[in-house]
Symmetry: C2
Subunit: 525 residues, 2 copies
């Protein structure tokens, strides 16, 4: 042991942590370091297996790690500066938690002996980060950093995958005595439970109008193949309204999608007497409204959980289809590309252009709020692609997610759809796109408005907006110049105000190398 231990004891705790994560296949670190993370920076400098990406705001780092995870299926590392860095990172950690994305947030902290002095940047990191972490520990001893990194990596896979927080005090980072953590096996999603499948098959045969709500691995190309068999066997297949990732377009079976507004969802499900659930939970309204339902299961319908987000829902669909003897499959979507749109620019004409020009294999990062839906609908028969939604409702995910997806999906294009309100939250992502030279085409729906809120104001019965309310929901006065904002951060950009202009701009943007932005001027109403 003396002979082999010599090398290990010359590692700093930071080096042991970084090496351990690299050993486990982590290949990207999205970082915004501070003084307490300088030894992590040095360790990253010496670790060629991990690509370090500077983000000018921590919410960009965690949004990018989420995008990276959705594309690769594996966690990226982030590097955050104490409790304040975690807070800045927090909204996109919340979104990642709701997307069941594995992510390893390494949060630097003061040296352990310094914590008792309550220095200005001191905060209760365990308390702040705990609620949105599926695992959280602090590496208070240098010898533990490697083992805890391995534990954090494994914990990010579940039972249900999600963001984990590994707090790294500065002295655990800078001291020598780091030990690389032993390799851990990657935890698997839960396999189907045979008894549940049989019960479900019986219930399907007894039901007049059965449906299945799916998410998770059921939304891969393979999972949707099994969903198509269920459809052919008479089961309506619906996805959650929002999901981390769905394979779509020509050659893929196209399931229905739960409607966003509660009253629409319940009306759409009228008569459904059995709702199977695989890879998600019983459907609930995004928000509550006076006098409207929260649970989106119609009267007389029995929800039956086959497996939650911790389960391999693709395998569940396969097992259920087998139990039902479903050999045929409903037909997949054909390839149908619309002609060139003309006239006024709006969400529908933008959707047509996207369907026309989006290359095969594109990843779509959709933070388009009120303008994203037409593009989603119009690309059902486009070239095969993957669509990634905002799962947690915290806007400002779109551009960071696109950055990380592009770094994970080398050789494939990324299309980012974002509202102007959402885009402003994390506009710093543009700079990192420029630095990394990623193939991201960002379309900003510029309507100078939180348009969704003007819709919601009416729906909640809060009354007609007066001047103050209108100002609180409007982004005009002054209008933001998105082309200037983008170019200021190094991303080439152009305006489009007609369908023809947008169509040409989008074709050019997809043909170009490196990031591009189009400010698409759409009506506010």
């Amino acid at each position: 042991m003396a002979g082999t231990g010599a090398a290990a004891t010359t590692l700093t705790g930071a080096e042991a942590l970084v090496s351990t994560l690299a050993d486990h296949g982590v290949t990207a670190c999205f970082a915004n370091p501070g003084t307490s993370e300088m030894h992590l920076v040095t360790a990253l400098d010496r670790e060629p297996r991990i690509r370090s990406v500077l983000c000018l705001f921590e919410g960009v780092a965690t949004g990018a790690a989420d995008g990276y995870a959705r594309v690769t299926g594996t966690p990226a590392m982030t590097l955050l500066h104490l409790g304040a860095g975690f807070l800045n990172a927090g909204a996109n950690i919340h979104n990642a938690k709701r997307a069941y994305s594995p992510m390893i947030n390494v949060i630097g902290d003061h040296a352990v002996p310094h914590l008792r002095y309550d220095a200005p940047l001191t905060s209760n990191i365990m308390g702040l980060a705990g609620p949105n972490s599926v695992w959280i520990k602090s590496a208070d001893r240098v010898g533990d950093t490697g083992a805890l990194a391995a534990e954090a990596w494994a914990a990010s896979f579940g039972p249900a995958p999600g963001p984990v927080s590994l707090i790294l005090p500065a002295d655990s980072a800078w001291n020598e005595g780091g030990v690389v953590g032993a390799a851990r096996a990657r935890p698997s999603l839960r396999a189907p439970v045979g008894a549940r499948i049989e019960t479900a098959a019986r219930a399907v045969r007894a039901a007049a109008k059965p449906a299945i709500l799916i998410n998770g691995t059921a939304l891969t190309a393979e999972g949707l193949g099994h969903a198509a068999r269920l459809k052919a066997a008479g089961i309506r297949v619906l996805t959650d309204t929002f999901f981390a990732r769905q394979a779509r377009g020509a050659g893929r079976f196209a399931p229905d999608r739960m409607q966003y507004f509660a009253e629409g969802a319940v009306a759409d499900l009228q008569g459904t007497d059995l709702m199977l659930i695989a890879g998600t939970q019983a459907p609930v309204a995004f928000f509550s409204y006076p006098g409207k339902p929260s649970l989106l299961v119609p009267e007389g319908c029995t929800p039956m959980l086959l497996g939650g987000p911790e389960s391999d829902s693709a395998a569940i669909l396969a097992a259920l289809a087998d139990a039902l003897g479903a050999k045929e499959a409903a037909p997949p979507a054909p390839l149908e590309l619309p002609g060139p749109p003309t006239g006024a620019l709006n969400a529908a004409s933008i959707g047509a252009s996207i369907a026309r020009h989006m290359p095969e294999g594109t990843f779509v990062s959709d933070d388009g709020v009120s303008n994203g839906l037409p593009s989603f609908l119009m690309t059902a028969k486009a070239r095969p692609h993957d669509w990634m939604m905002l799962t947690g409702g915290a806007i400002g995910q779109g551009m960071p997610l696109a950055l990380g997806a592009a770094l994970g999906a080398k050789g494939r294009k990324v299309l980012c759809l974002t509202g102007d309100g959402a885009g402003m939250y994390t506009n710093q992502a543009l700079w990192s796109m420029a630095r990394e030279g990623v193939d991201v085409v960002t379309v900003v729906f510029v309507n100078h408005s939180y348009r969704i809120l003007n819709i919601e104001l009416a729906r909640t019965g809060a009354g007609n907006p007066g001047r103050v309310a209108a100002d609180l929901l409007g982004l005009g006065r002054p209008e933001i110049d998105w082309v200037a904002l983008s170019q200021a951060q190094g991303v080439p950009a152009s305006n489009a105000s007609t369908a023809e202009e947008f169509d040409a701009a989008l074709a050019r943007a997809f043909a170009a190398e490196g990031p591009q932005l189009i400010a698409a001027h759409v009506p506010a109403r």
Copy 2:
């Protein structure tokens, strides 16, 4: 009761909350609303005593509320959208907590009956917001919103002032049955403790080299007048390195300031055998470094706490000066304005221009990190002004703080000094400056670098930066065009690359109405 109760029961909970805060003198709300806050938006629409300011990112809202509090001494209200909104707001709440700034964060939440369904935006708000709130409650019943708003207002004043969190579920906001909260008295800071003052006076007489470390109300013009008496009585007067606000310039006594780096601070205090403390805590190093001290009290020096941040430190200084029979006062700073700087643009020549041109009464918001110090030093004899520091170390405070300060300090100019790294964090503040037309002159120190981190990397002994490390600490590749970024959000801007250019640009900016930005190109080393 039946006769008078009729009007009250027609108020929504949101209206009762907003009316109660207005009754208590709250005059500003910095907001980024979402669906669950629509009834708060309507209530603000109907409340003419509160000015509602839309911020495009929640960290701008809380930074602005902090600036408003530092200038007016009273809390502003913020409006945040669930746990995700709190997280975005969190870093500047941390800073405000460290500045002892009163602030009332109203955090919207789902309707109480909706919470059990774990909808996508649901999170543990109490858990997330608790660690950085000096008071936190949830108004789970509509009848409680007014009383809790009054309680929150009072709690924001202390014992030590700070940010409070009032969670408002959507049904408590939208239901009728709101009751305006009864008026509460404003809590006062703690008065001096006579016995402590007498003990301190005896210790001063016995000490060879006494000093007093001050913060809080001791840094007002009145407090510094008493500090000058202590100085004349042979006590060295030092402020904390960072403070919420200090009166400075001609006519004010200029105390020393604790040095930032531990080794410098300890050397500076060598021989000090008594350290009195008023309005703050014992001095500690901002960060810890291998082999360097955390507590900045030299060997052989006794720290003696006269009152912490909960105390009226100006009154403590007055009482101590009286106890010492100190009738004379050390002379205040004279008015001395430097001549026009020439040649290369750097932090020193910028400081000279600021000293020359800064109008009387200016509030300075300093988030300048490595470039702020020369401006601070060179303005000691400028026209009377107030300086506001980054107290909590979470960069991205400067521009939001300036926005709020300008709205609170009508008729007075605000100068914002920010690094380019810090400025990118919350660049959305520029848009709100433009919308509100505030008199803020923002100077961005553009060096395309987290320069402080390059200094810290060397100090922590983390080794010479390789390419990856250099990239993680550098903002070049691509260089950000601050003039375009500012103009894109409606704030007129110009570049300055020489001392002459900057001097002329600053004179023009102070003479103009409305927000202005100068990108000051300074060396990276």
